[in-house]
Amino acid sequence: MRTACLRVSELPLAAELRAHPELADRPFAVASSPGPRAELVAVSAEAARRGVRRLTSVAHARAICGDLRLRIASPALEQAARAALLDAALSFSPRAAPAPRAPGAYAAEAAVHLDASGVTSLFSSERGWATALVARAEQLGLPAAVAVASSRSVAHLAARHLAGGDSLVLPPGSEAAFLAPLPIDLLDPDDALAEALTRFGVRTVRDLLTLPRRALAARLGPSVLQLIARARGEETELALPVPPGERLAEAIDLEFPIDRLEPLAFVLRGLLSRLRDRLEARRLACSDLFLVLELEAGGRDARRIGVAAPTLDLRVLMRQTRHALETHPPTAPVVSAALESQGRPVRTDQLDLFRPAGPHPAVLGRTLAELESLCGSGRIGAPEAADDHRPDAFGLRPFQPGRAAAPGPASDPAAPFRTSLAVRALRPPVPADVSVVRGRPERVRSAIANGEVLCLAGPWRTTGGWWSREERFAYDSFDVQTGDGVVARLRFDYVRKAWHIDAVYD
């Protein structure tokens, strides 16, 4: 079985650059905690060029490089970067699993093992596949390297030998020749074992493999056998592929609390953009968003932002998010933000061959999302006349014209065409001042219809919901024509003891 290892060598650095790409060419470093005595866990290439080193203190680093930009290591960003790396792997292989975290010198790496079997049926070669995988990781903001070999351990070792953006394919049977000249540090021995091997003059993998195993194990303990197995490319652990989850999340810890919408929107735009890229890599679209804002003084603002139809249009998603924040702004300054979305497949309805072409499903999805951002959540859809005695009862269903039933047989062309009289609903019903004589309205005064009642039909009594104080209703309805020519539906509400006009015949 062929296996690949997708690896990022400095995850804290990559996670920060992914969220803040403007720092790419500047000297910056990531510290383990705030304060001048904190240790640097990662330094950028520019900072390294100026003499800043890992594991030095912040104060020392600032003394060397005066314009060094400092970021505090963010677990939220690193977790998102690890998830993005896995997403990149899953977009190229159905089986992928994060590599166990390595201690010591490789503690800052993040790696994913993925099944590379049969890739030549889709790509011209394993090299082409690996190059495309590197490009995909780059698109998600991660400078990763890829190595393909016949075992996970060899692929991982080979990937450690590469710089970000490189790829390497070891043909079957060539692993031993590749590993031989490499230093044993790449095998990641613990400190005691590494010191012992160095004392014995074992510096390369070839040196290790030429020594008798039993003698080594007797002298150095059973841990050296694991080292030898890794040097030979033997798998020591079973592969446990991670099932791809459909809920993707991006998060960020803010440098300072934000209490205005514009800077918060800027931060959220970055989160949305990264989330959208990961969903696109997995051939999914963004459905409803779940936004969690951690507030100053321990508060929390969690909300759901509805998206009418799955979409990857950043403009639409951003508009929905801004609308939600403008409508209900956070009650305190925001110190961190997390955005999560349930990925959904992009709509690919096939339209009926015998019906007129409707809107393209992908375009329709984006349009529905835009309309929802303009009109508000829950105000877009296909109407439904509810089976309810309550006046103006209606519902809204998701608009899916591709699944609409075909029209019934055409009506008899010889039958006379009757044009139906419709009503215009008044939402909310308009209050009316009504003069009543012997139980019948005689004169109406309202914002819609005024004057003497010229013609009248009714009343019709409608009641219901008697089992609940909140839901009960009782109306007497009349169809009236008033002196100003308006033909309206007038009703008396027995619960509220008031007259209203709830519809106009038009």
Partner: protein
């Protein structure tokens, strides 16, 4: 006998007056636009076949003039022909029960309850850009003069509709789009029929007048009877 230049000019003026709206600039005759029939034969005759596709039209009239019934009639015609339509309801007056009674297939109707006229106009533009909708009905609330005070807005919609095959119809109490409308119909109620014992509302009789047509004579009208289905 030679005519004097002033005599020729006078005859030319008279000829131009007689030709009226049938006179068109340019040498090529305009191609007939595909039409969206209402299903009401007298009205379709008045409109030269129906409302033009790919153009903006207006249906105006006060309350109880029948404009909503006419609009739902168009919805029914389109949806029963298998097409997809949209109702942008800035007035929040759309009644699904009435649409169903008129024969519309509600699965093919997209109802957008826009909170204001700005959102309604933007929604209309998005739907026109999406293409595929046979009819976009824009129901505007009454007495909002701001909507009619921005002619550029209507020009944008006209340009968005052009070439799409979508009939954009604006429903309002008074005309909004001015010369941007290809066609405008003004409705007024002539009589409400309350008959029977006990009295029931049987229907409304309305008069539809063609008040604007970019390429045909106007000031023509016809009468339509709207039947109240609950009374049937």
């Amino acid at each position: 006998m030679l005519r004097s230049p002033s005599d020729t000019a006078r005859r030319l003026d008279a000829l131009l007056r007689d030709l009226g709206p049938r006179l068109r600039r340019g040498g090529r005759p305009a191609e007939p636009l595909p039409r969206f029939p209402t299903g009401i034969s007298d009205l379709d005759r008045l409109l030269d076949g129906g409302f033009p596709r790919g153009r903006l039209s207006e249906i105006t009239g006060p309350l109880s003039s029948g404009r909503t019934s006419l609009a739902l009639c168009l919805l029914a015609q389109a949806t029963r022909a298998g097409e997809v339509v949209a109702v942008i309801d800035a007035a929040d007056a759309f009644d699904p029960a009435s649409a169903e009674a008129a024969g519309a297939l509600l699965d093919r109707v997209l109802w957008a309850r826009a909170p204001g006229w700005r959102e309604a106009l933007r929604s209309a533009e998005r739907l026109l850009e999406a293409r595929g909708f046979a009819l976009v009905l824009l129901d505007l609330p009454p007495a909002d003069p701001r909507a009619s005070a921005v002619p550029a807005v209507w020009l944008r919609l006209v340009r968005a509709a052009a070439g799409t095959g979508t009939a954009l119809i604006v429903l309002s109490a008074q005309r909004m789009a001015g010369s941007s409308a290809e066609l405008a119909v003004e409705l007024r109620a002539t009589r409400a029929h309350f008959t029977g014992t006990p009295a029931l509302l049987q229907g409304l009789e309305i008069e539809a007048a063609l008040v604007r047509h970019s390429s045909a004579p106007i000031q023509r009208s016809t009468r339509v009877h709207l039947h109240h289905s609950a009374a049937a």
